[in-house]
Amino acid sequence: MSVLASIRNSLSGLFGSSRGPKQIGVYGPPNGGKSTLCNRILRDWTDDEMGTTSHVAHETVKVKSKDNVVIEHEDYEVQINIVDTPGVATKVDYTEFLDEGFERDDAVRRSREATQGISEAMHWLKEDIDGVLYVLDSTKDPFTQVNTMVTGIIEGQDIPVLILANKIDLDDSDVERIIEAHPDKDVVPLSALEGDNMDEVYAKIAAKFG
């Protein structure tokens, strides 16, 4: 969070929440299920969807947001803006798109879009994000340098974060490994695709960002 954003938040805390809903960024490595989660949240609470999803890495190439999403429960109500972001990476190799069957020109175009999207996601994180849902594929090793780096950046900017261990519907899901990687954070298991454990996700979102 920038200095200006911190001051702005401090002032809004003193004088009431005139700034409106908090901007909740959905971050994480490529293919963790960020867009699937955004679509799940929007389907549950609005009549809309955020965008398409696929197994191809970097399918989301631009930051997308949906404002004024109201999550209601008998115990809580929270209004947020959901910001879906491209998966953050430190390398983008167009040959990975060739491996997915794309022609060279398409692969190069997609890789360029992906790099621009990652830059955009980092700018949002630095300037415009009040809270983060960090989405991890629970079938994958969470101890990667990119995860270390990005969660470090989030923490370094004092942005509250909720860790979401996604894809628990898959046989090789290992939520304990994610808890071990983030022992001092709230880790919520879920399947965004199947809608498993979403009640706990919403309760945690309300508690963390409400």
Partner: protein, 128 residues
């Protein structure tokens, strides 16, 4: 400006940026320096870690420098002990205040060939 040249690892050229040298540079110059060296195919060894702001800048700058068939990005390695100082992944957060910890940054296609732990072990052995 003092500069030491650590040994090559597996024939890959290394470039050490000392803490003193790093501190003398402006923030954006630090990022440019790292990326210049990495784009030349070198592995950069930082004597001290990057702050969260520098890491953000590094990812952003890396994305802007990626060119198909020329440069596909970077990889970063820090010693496992530095990552786990306070337990788990978030122990890495100690690095946000720039504790003395070696950080290895290289081109994506070259760092894959170097085992990070072996590298830090051999560097430590050399220093002793």
């Amino acid at each position: 400006m003092s500069e030491q040249q650590p040994p090559d690892i597996n024939g890959v050229q290394l470039h050490l940026i000392t803490e003193e040298e790093f501190e003398e540079m402006r923030p954006q110059a630090r990022i440019s320096r790292i990326l210049d060296e990495v784009q030349d195919g070198k592995l950069v060894v930082l004597q001290t870690g990057l702050s969260s702001d520098e890491e953000t800048r590094l990812i952003d700058a890396t994305m802007r420098h990626i060119e198909p068939d020329v440069f596909s990005g970077i990889e970063i390695e820090i010693p496992k002990t530095a990552q786990n100082k306070s337990g788990g992944l978030m122990g890495r957060l100690l690095g946000n205040e720039k504790k003395n910890k070696l950080t290895l940054i290289g081109p994506a296609n070259k760092l894959e060939e170097v085992d990070g732990n072996d590298f830090f072990m051999s560097l430590s052995t050399e220093a002793n």
